[in-house]
């Protein structure tokens, strides 16, 4: 596998098989599969050129801009999975941004990584991607907690506790739910699945031992970013369900 254009077209046979299955079984996904194939192709080619440019220029402001765009797209995606309001977009973007910048910043300060875009950007991508999922899960969970536990929360409020105290149980459940995918990844990493970073390095010719070392750092980085994102999303989102007089807004 060299990634030349001929191989890319040959790989389209795999998509053809998928479209064939959909057509044969009348699943009616042919159009979606075709659009998805074209979209992913265009997106990845564009990103490939953009990253080539960023890597060659090697400017800090450009790296930060790329990460910022990733955070905004991640925030928009996570926010739209729930109610899709501007408030949720802001909460997700802020939470993902803090999680990503804090984690990457710490890795830089500790000297584990350098500002070389070849390291920073892929690591930022993984951090933001996982944080995005955590934020989306947290938004969904907190909403269902507020809706389903409205009576319990109001009875707690009526006893004179603050809204933060009244939803403490829901807050913990939300953070746990948001972190489950990353915790599961930690449990099975290397046993059930070979994660992206490790797979990429092995495919690029690195020794498995080298790949594993990087993957360990990636897993620790993800758990840090995800926990920060989950906590901030849950707390900020929970606050939107109450007035300043600790009255519940959910109808």
């Amino acid at each position: 596998m060299t990634g030349n254009i001929g191989e890319l077209f040959l790989a389209l046979i795999l998509v053809g098989i998928s479209i064939g299955i959909s057509y044969y079984k009348k699943i009616n996904l042919e159009k979606d599969l075709l659009i998805g194939t074209i979209r992913s192709f265009v997106q990845l080619i564009a990103i490939g050129y953009a990253l080539e440019l960023v890597f060659n220029l090697n400017k800090l402001w450009l790296i930060l801009l790329v990460i910022l765009i990733m955070v905004l797209v991640g925030g928009q995606t996570a926010g739209s999975r729930s109610k899709g309001s501007l408030k949720e977009f802001s909460i997700s973007t802020f939470s993902i941004g803090i999680g990503a910048f804090f984690t990457l910043g710490l890795l830089l300060i500790l000297g584990i990584i350098t500002t070389d875009p070849k390291y920073v950007i892929p690591l930022a991508g993984m951090t933001i991607g996982n944080s995005m999922n955590a934020s989306a899960l947290a938004l969904e969970r907190i909403h269902s907690e507020m809706k389903n536990k409205k009576d319990q929360i109001e009875q707690a409020l009526s006893l004179g506790v603050t809204s933060t105290q009244a939803v403490e149980g829901s807050f913990k459940a939300t953070v746990k739910a948001a972190m489950i995918p990353t915790l599961n990844l930690m449990k099975v990493v290397g046993l059930v699945q070979l994660p992206g970073a490790m797979t990429g390095m092995i495919l690029a010719g690195a020794s498995p031992l080298e790949a594993v070392k990087l993957q360990i750092i990636v897993v620790y980085m993800l758990i840090c970013a995800v926990s920060i994102t989950a906590v901030i999303t849950a707390r900020l989102s929970q606050n939107t369900y109450f007035t300043k007089y600790h009255q519940m807004i959910v109808s």
Partner: protein, 250 residues
């Protein structure tokens, strides 16, 4: 103990009607004056705004207009968390917090680190439960026991007013009478002002004192329960008593 006054209190809510939203008046200019240490019953059919009234007094909701006064002070001028402990609300269906009864009683206090000073057994005794209930899993209690625990966890704050939102509606006749007796005792022993919401006429008569009848968000009658309920002049009350008050009228 506290005097509770409601002056021209209204509450509007936005309700969805098909694809449009409209303002619905849940309470329409309610005036009430509840004396200290009184058991004041609020009667009315379902959906008449009785529960909303209690939620406004506990400030779980905000009145759209008018004012609610506690000993002459507008409740909006009081610190809301402190108000909720002074004017406690007991719900129609009590929801227990996770854990045992002790955990439930301490809920409002534990997170404020005041738990050491509270006499839990005394609170349980006030609601007619033995001290061995403290270790019982709250999820396994009967409806009547849950309602008693719910009462006890409000009494821990030494409230001055007790707001009761149909606290016996899910109970059998025996448990209902027991809770009624308990409320009377608490009113007598602790000198509590009690506002008791119900749609049960005989309950209002048993609890005595004064009552108000609310229909469709409006107070249509007020006075001594025996007088208001036994010889009503108002046609709506007559229909309510006979159980003939249909939805279009209320």
């Amino acid at each position: 103990m506290l005097k509770l006054e409601l002056k021209k209190v209204t509450r509007k809510r936005v309700v969805k009607n098909g694809n449009t939203f409209k303002d619905m008046k849940v309470l329409k200019g309610i005036n009430l004056s509840i004396e200290p240490e009184e058991i004041y019953t609020i009667l009315g059919p379902s959906g008449s705004g009785k529960s909303t009234l209690l939620r406004l007094i506990n400030r779980l909701e905000e009145a759209s207009s008018g004012s609610i006064l506690l000993d002459g002070i507008d409740i909006r001028e009081l610190e809301v968390l402190n108000l909720r402990q002074r004017v406690s609300l007991v719900f129609q269906v009590p929801v227990m917090f996770e854990g045992d009864v002790k955990n439930n009683l301490l809920f409002g206090l534990k997170i404020k680190n005041e738990s050491e000073t509270v006499e839990l057994e005394k609170c349980l005794e006030l609601v007619g439960l033995e001290s061995n209930f403290l270790k019982r899993d709250s999820a396994e209690l009967s409806s009547g026991e849950k309602q008693r625990v719910s009462l006890a966890r409000t009494l821990i704050h030494n409230p001055e007013v007790l707001l009761l939102d149909e606290p016996t509606s899910a109970l059998d006749p025996t448990a209902t009478l027991q809770i009624e007796k308990l409320i009377k005792d608490l009113n007598h022993v602790l000198k509590l002002t009690v506002v008791f919401v119900t749609h049960n006429l005989s309950q209002a008569l048993r609890l005595g004192h004064r009552c108000a009848i609310i229909v469709n968000g409006e107070k249509i009658e007020e006075g001594k329960a025996e007088v208001v309920l036994k010889n009503p002049e108002n046609l709506l009350i007559q229909k309510f008593i006979k159980g003939e008050l249909v939805k279009e009228e209320n």
